[in-house]
Amino acid sequence: MRGWIFGLLVLLLLAPSATMAAEIRHADHIWQDENRLLVRLYLDMSLPDVLTDALASGVVVNFRSEVRLDYARGFLGERTVKSASKAVRLEYYALSRHYVVTDLERQQMDFAPTVGDALEMLARRLGRVVLEVDRGALRPGLDYTLASRVQLDHTALPLPLQWDARLRGAYGTQLGWYRWSLE
């Protein structure tokens, strides 16, 4: 039993964490009107096996993409002008053997027969974030930057998996912020 406990501790503390790969290949933005800035993220996403298994076993996985509009204040750092996020849920529907991607804000559902298809749909959903910014309020001369990232929503995981997520940083998608200038 002692060996089992030791193994458990080692597993908990020392085992390498399996992290989700989600890379923002490219990002751009487009003003839909004077108050809406559409940010488009082009993502390459993949899931670790453990999360794929979890998904297949009925675990619902939520993702969140965040977008932030900042301007630089010299040595004082940056200040966020506006931020927005989008939450998308990915789950497996056993009755139809499909993966379901749900935009949690718009309650729109996409159905995919494979994980790969589901991830593509997921990337599309996550990659469209609308930032409500008054374009006229942006002061000329300031250096505005857009920052974006995608991460797994730990809090939406079942509690037992949150142990792993918290203790070992498993399934972490804490990618760095992807930045580009607001043209």
């Binding site: 039993m1 406990i5 458990l8 597993l11 908990l12 298994d53 979890a54 076993s57 009925g58 675990v59 497996y92 529907y93 056993a94 009755l95 139809s96 499909h98 379901v100 749900t102 309650q107 559902m109 996409d110 159905f111 995919a112 027969p113 298809d117 749909m121 730990h154 809090t155 079942p158 509690l159 037992p160 998996l161 949150q162 142990w163 792993d164 918290r166 203790l167």
Partner: protein, 730 residues
Amino acid sequence: MRRFPWGLLGMVVLFLLLLASLVVMGDAAQNSDRFERLFLWLLAFHGLVLVVLGTLIIYQLSRLIVQNRDGVPGSRLTLRLVFGFMLVAVLPATVVYYFSFKFLNEGVDSWFDVRVDGALEDALELSRSSLDLRVRQLSRETQEIMRQLEDVSETLVPLALNDVRAQMNAQELTLVGANNRIIASSTDSPIRRLPSPPGADILLRMSPGQPFTRLEPQPDGSLVIRVVATGGDRRPGADSRILQGIYPVDPRMSALAVRVEDAFVDYREFAYLRGPIKQGFIFTMSLALAISLMAALWAGLLVARRLVRPVTDLAEGTRLVASGDYSTRLAVSRDDELGFLVRSFNAMTRTLSEARQEAERSRRLLDAERAYLESVLQHLRSGVLALDGSLRLRTANDAACQILECDLRAGHNRFPSEFDEDCPLVAQFFDAISDALTQREKEWSREVVVFARSGRKVLMTRAVWLPNPGNNRGLHAIVFDDMTEFLRAQRDAAWGEVARRLAHEIKNPLTPIQLSAERLSRRLGKTLEGADREMLDRATQTIVQQVEAMKTLVNAFRDYAQAPRLALVPLDLNGLLRDVCELYDGEGQPARVALDLAGRVPTIRADAGRLRQLIHNLIKNALEAVQGRPDGEVRVSTRSLEDDHGRRVELRVADNGPGIRQDFLERIFEPYTTDKPRGTGLGLAVAQKIVEEHGGIIECHNQPTGGAVFVIRIPVSHGGETGGVGEKHA
């Protein structure tokens, strides 16, 4: 003053905090929001507490081990108690942990059953089959609708769609032309909503001639079946068409299927989370166990120290008492049995201290009494000896040493027989009384005679046997007095009285006897002739001579009995000796008289006439001893002495005659004691009397080389100056 148990209080507070945090942690593990907010903080708190507790425990244990190695009092007991507490805490906790662990593993596993899993799979498959039937049916019907619409113009299509939708009870029917252009759409919703053409993902997956079907859950939990069928407009120049139908699933079937699917998913998810659930429980349980053990160990350390502290204090106090410090008092900090022990210890040390003070007082008193007794003993003129039951010498005073001429104190604890060589008088004395000592007569007295170099000593001895109840060996207390001088004085007085009476009673008739004899000679001598005359003359002559002899004897007795008053003047003894010895330096002397006078002899206060008589007596006595010996010699010597008796002048008159018989030597100074046929026996008695009149002593003994020697020691007068010039001549 009792100290407040801050350590114990801190431990209790810490333990309660840990307990509360464990409860909060357990609660947080059931609630996602709380988990998110509290879990890491609680984990950090527990980790910090574990590290602090562990550090403290390791520090305390290592210190305890070092103290134990260094032999610090109480450390071993503390260590044993700590290990005991640890054992008491660890064993049950380990047992509980083991069974909890086992129960948790097996319990969580028992939640899952292969049959349940299979049943759920079957139920899901049943739902799927049931829905598949409906899907296939709708697929066929949709294809049939598509065929019916092939001959309908775009103008009439909306009407046809409405009819068909109503007939099919579809939720929505949409006919799409080329480029995803919506030709017509019909919906059951009273609120007009935009039709949703099939998405690109659907179009990409469609096979020619095969309709696309999909069961889709809806946000409201219901199910719909999407069917997309392809077809064409058979009229010339018309594009191909796609018909999408969305059909609701029967609510009852939908609800059942959704419930089955939910149950299946929940079960699968639960089964998948089995490992993490166990890990979470075991982690919490291990944390609780670790904290409990740490807290128990820490509590054990504190409690052990609290328990052992009085014992340690007692050990230290006992050590101090053993080293003689009876002033040790321990602080009473508790009311339990250990407190009672400490109070008893304090009472014991107090009693010991008082007893010691009392013993010290008694010892001082005893010392004072002993010193007093010692002083009394030392100043007694009587000799006092104490012997234990085995006849070992325990006590002797100065007088005893002086009388027995032996330093008896050096022989403390020795048997009398061990004094043989050094102290002959002691041996003689104990020989004389040994029978009484060995028989342990209760009380006895006897006159003991010993023989010293100075002569015979008479010791009046009294003794008592003191059986000591506390010591079976008992004690002989012996008191003795040197009665020699007293007896001699008594005898001298008796002899003086005899001499005075003799002189008085005998001398008176001697003169008439002599006169009568002379008258008889004168009267009858004229009348008688011849032989008668001669006889008369001889007889009267004899009478006269004998009367003269008797007068001489009587005068001698008178001289002995009636000593003249001394005329003490400073006297040079050497000069007097030279004057007297000159009388013996001439022809007709039986032997020569040699002088061996010391160079510087102190002046003495003496009666020159009496000393002259003394010297004459001794020299005449010596000459008579060597009479007839061709090498006869009388040696007269002087010397100065300084010893315990003060400064004295010693005069020695020695001869090389035959010496004196031992039996005669013992009473040589007694009156009327003589070994000469014509001696009066008063010469040496008179000599002794003259010496004693001058405060001196006279001794007589035989020389190892032959002959006898008379030794006279006369004290030097106070302030006496050294006078005289020594000389040596024959």
